[in-house]
C-alpha cells in the first residue's frame, strides 16, 4: 500500500512537471489576455479537483451512515481536507487573475461568493470534526454535514448560468464543444490529470495517517 502511495506521489510530481512545461512552454500566449491567462492552468484544475474531493466526501459520508465503516469516515475526512486545500488555491489564484483582468481582487459575484461559501462550509466540516471528542459521534455529525454541504457544489458550478455574473461560463465542463484552442485544452487537461494524481496521493497519505492516529490514540 505504501509502495503504491509512493508511486502515486512520483507520478504526481512527473505530472506537475509536464503540466508546467505545457503551461509555459507549449501552450500559446492567449490573444486577448496575454500571458496572465496562464493562471488558468492552475485555477481551473484546482476547482475541478476540489469538486471531485467533495464528491468523494458525499459518497463516503453516505457509505458511513449506511454501514458505519471507519474506513469510509477516514476517506471523507481526508477528502474534505484535500478539497479545502485545492479550493483555497482556486480562490487565491482567482483573486490574482482577477486584478489585472477585471481590475479587482474580489467582487461579490455569484460564482466567487458561492465558491467562498463552499470553502467556509467545508472548513466548518473540519472544525466540527475537531471539536467533538467522541469519534463515533464526530463521524456521524460530519457525515450529515458532508451530505448537506455537497448541495453547494452544483450551486457553484451553475451559478454562472443562473445569475448574471462577471465570471465567465465554464470552458471545459459545458454542453457542446469547447471554444478553446486545442493546445490550450491539452495544457489544461495535463494539469488536470497532474492535480488529480496529487490529490489522490494526498488523500491516500492522509487516510493512512488517520488510521495510524486512531491506532495510536486508541
Amino acid at each position: 500500500m505504501k509502495r503504491l502511495q509512493r508511486a502515486l506521489g512520483w507520478l504526481a510530481v512527473a505530472g506537475l512537471a509536464a503540466g508546467l512545461v505545457m503551461a509555459f512552454g507549449v501552450a500559446p500566449r492567449e490573444a486577448t489576455q496575454g500571458n496572465v491567462q496562464r493562471i488558468m492552468y492552475l485555477h481551473v484544475p484546482a476547482i475541478l479537483v476540489a469538486y471531485l474531493a467533495f464528491g468523494v466526501v458525499l459518497v463516503a459520508s453516505v457509505s458511513y451512515l449506511w454501514g458505519r465503516a471507519a474506513g469510509a469516515d477516514r476517506l471523507a475526512h481526508a477528502s474534505a481536507e484535500v478539497g479545502v486545500v485545492f479550493t483555497s488555491i482556486n480562490i487565491a489564484t482567482g483573486a490574482i487573475w482577477g486584478k489585472p483582468t477585471w481590475g479587482a481582487w474580489w467582487t461579490w459575484d455569484a460564482r466567487l461568493t458561492s465558491v467562498s461559501i463552499m470553502f467556509v462550509i467545508y472548513l466548518a466540516y473540519l472544525l466540527l470534526r475537531a471539536m467533538i471528542e467522541d469519534r463515533e459521534r464526530a463521524a456521524r455529525f460530519a457525515a450529515v454535514l458532508g451530505i448537506i454541504a455537497a448541495l453547494d457544489i452544483p450551486l457553484v458550478h451553475f451559478s454562472v448560468y443562473w445569475w448574471r455574473t462577471l465570471h465567465q461560463p465554464p470552458t471545459l465542463l459545458r454542453p457542446g464543444s469547447t471554444p478553446m484552442d486545442a493546445m490550450l485544452v491539452a495544457a489544461l487537461t495535463i494539469n488536470l490529470i497532474a492535480f488529480t494524481l496529487l490529490s489522490a496521493y494526498f488523500v491516500a497519505k492522509r487516510v493512512r495517517l488517520l488510521k495510524r492516529e486512531q491506532e495510536v490514540l486508541a
Binding site: I39, A46, I89, A92, T93, I96, P100, F202, E213
Partner: protein
C-alpha cells in the same frame, strides 16, 4: 493587454507554497506518529506485516496511562 508576469508568478508561487506546506504538514505528522509509536514500544500498533518495521511483541505491551 500587458502580460502581467508578476501576477502569473505570484499565482504559481502561492500554489506551490500551499501544496508544499500541506505536504510538509503531512510529513511532520507522520514523523510525530512514528515517534509516538516508538515511544509506546509498538504496543498500540496493529501487528506488523511482512516487510514493515516495528512489532507488537506482547512482552513489551503496556496499558495506556
Amino acid at each position: 493587454m500587458p502580460d502581467n508576469w508578476s501576477f502569473v508568478f505570484a499565482a504559481y508561487g502561492l500554489a506551490a507554497l500551499v501544496l508544499g506546506g500541506y505536504w510538509r504538514r503531512l510529513a511532520r505528522r507522520e514523523r510525530e506518529l512514528a515517534t509516538r509509536e516508538r515511544g509506546s514500544g509498538g504496543a498500540r500498533r496493529a501487528p506488523a506485516r511482512r516487510g514493515e518495521s516495528g512489532s507488537a511483541d506482547p512482552a513489551t505491551m503496556t496499558r495506556p496511562s
